[in-house]
Amino acid sequence: MTQFDLELKQITKIYPGGTLAVEAFDLQVEKGEFLSFVGPSGCGKTTTLRMIAGLEDITSGELYIRGVNNTHIKAEKRPTATIFQNYAIYPHMTVRQNIEFGLKIRNLSASEIRQKTGNMIDLLDLGSVADAREHSLSGGQKQRVALARGLITEPEILLLDEPLGALDANLRRAIQDELKLLQRQLNITFVFVTHAQSEALGMGDRIVVMNAGRVEQIGKSEDIYFNPQTPFVSRFIGKNLLFEGKISGANGGIASIETPHGVLKAGMAGAGKISKGQQGLLSVPSEYIQFGKSKASGVNAITGHVKQANFVLNTVIIYMTLANGDVVKIDTHVDKVKGQDLNPGTVLNCYWSDKQGRIMLNETNNSGGA
């Protein structure tokens, strides 16, 4: 049997007030994996992270770290370290003291502590601020101090709670890459919580999409992006065009859906659960949309007119009004619309292959995220 670095079995959290924060969470994480939890605020991702850290009691279910049952182990006894969104740097200690803080309680000689602290300061390039205190550090430096302080205790799992949330956009991009590199280098399992899909999809080897205390989908980045399995994931992740309607056929993995804009076809999400007559949702990534008319067979086509088109750097966001007044948003690369008239009112024809996009059941009352 494979030993997982982290295993959640039916982990559930109910707060004393009766609020269900996390429901029956099952997860297996292999050593060295970079796992992202993503979801809107209040979806239970941070609560799950805190349960793994031992900072929150587990109401029911079991938690294993490297095969050891940690369900009822106290936070300070768990082989995890947590990086907090606000970094939680100790203001009364220097950077060096912050970093060596977790080593002081272990049975190490002074020279070993010095050695390890020095290595960690080098690894995270904090030499120039080793004797500075929190108030004189930049956001990025604080972040690296928090990382160094957590990593020096050699945790089996590093838990990161929205660690990039307090940084500005440019820095965030740079630190994403650094973090990923560091994780590869150290080969430690990272569990990373964020509400930003770009961070989750950009860094995670696997991504867990959560909503309202439940896991919506677990998968690799491209899976989550191009093959959403639930209406929530379609709405929350990526830039999908969504069409609601009644399932008019489901056969051999291909389904068709009757929408106000005609019958559209696509592969089915969630094998075998879809049958004729049910309410369905078709989700098509903006990237697949082609402009113009196609005579090829096996395409879905819609027609409307341009309501508005906004160019943002190398992308363009087109709001297209369809015949029944519905507005769809197409977020695509500027190359795709070369030569296309995008003035408001212009008739716009779009098509995409019926092998692209996913049709899924639309019966759950998921509230769509942004």
Binding site: G54, F101, R106, A146
Partner: protein, 285 residues
Amino acid sequence: MDKVASLKWFLGIFTALFVLFLYGPFIVMGILSFQQGPEGGPQFPIIEWSTYWYQHVFGIAPPSRVAPLPIGEALFRSLSLAFATMVVSTVMGVLTAQAFRSQFRGSGVVFYSVILGMIVPGVLLGLGMALLANQLGIDRNWWSTAFVLHVVYTYPFAFLVMLAIFNRFDTSVEEASLSLGVSPARTFRKVTFPIIFPGVLSAMLFAFTLSYDEFPRTLFTGGSDVTMPLAIYGTFAVEIHPNLFAFGVLTTLFSFALLAIYGILLTVSTRRQRAKASGLQEDIS
């Protein structure tokens, strides 16, 4: 615009009056403490400026018909009582506030029963305590019954100060410490306490000063060995001489000195947090 200007004037005058009433008595007392002695009385005009009454307080003035202030032992008692009260109330205040950081059953009841100690009129509490002590056959002393009441009185203040401090305390620094494998006890010593220390100083200052000039509770429960405020009050019964003012000035200066020490400690503790350590750059490898 005019309305704003007149409002500014009104508030300005109001503030000036407030400051005047705050410092007026002290200034008058300060001036009169330099009255000529031993004949000069506790009123204007100043017959002649002198430091006679200060010498009188310290017992270095030539003997006269004015009896020396009975302050030596009383001062010692007041200071030791205030010190002990400060220590006990602050420790209890910190611990209670720590307990209140998480919800527990009956926390509301506990909160109000603690706060009651500073709300109940001192005279009532003093009288009640005296009756209780009599009933139980306990001797009333400044170091026993009065001490208990001083703690009952100052502990809520220390508690409230610490409650406010913990209110804006960021729990994640403690959680970070736990997640590094540090025990809760060590986390409190190494992380929590250094961060709340300025608040602890404030709580200490409150407890000390409140106890130092406490009157009604001590009056009933202090027994025959009086504290400073009672000793001063006792001299009113005979005749008031400017030596009282001289002592008042000295004791006020003492209070200012306490405030100054508090300020210095506060600055040092925050500077320790803020200061960029310089010249300590060590070779890493």
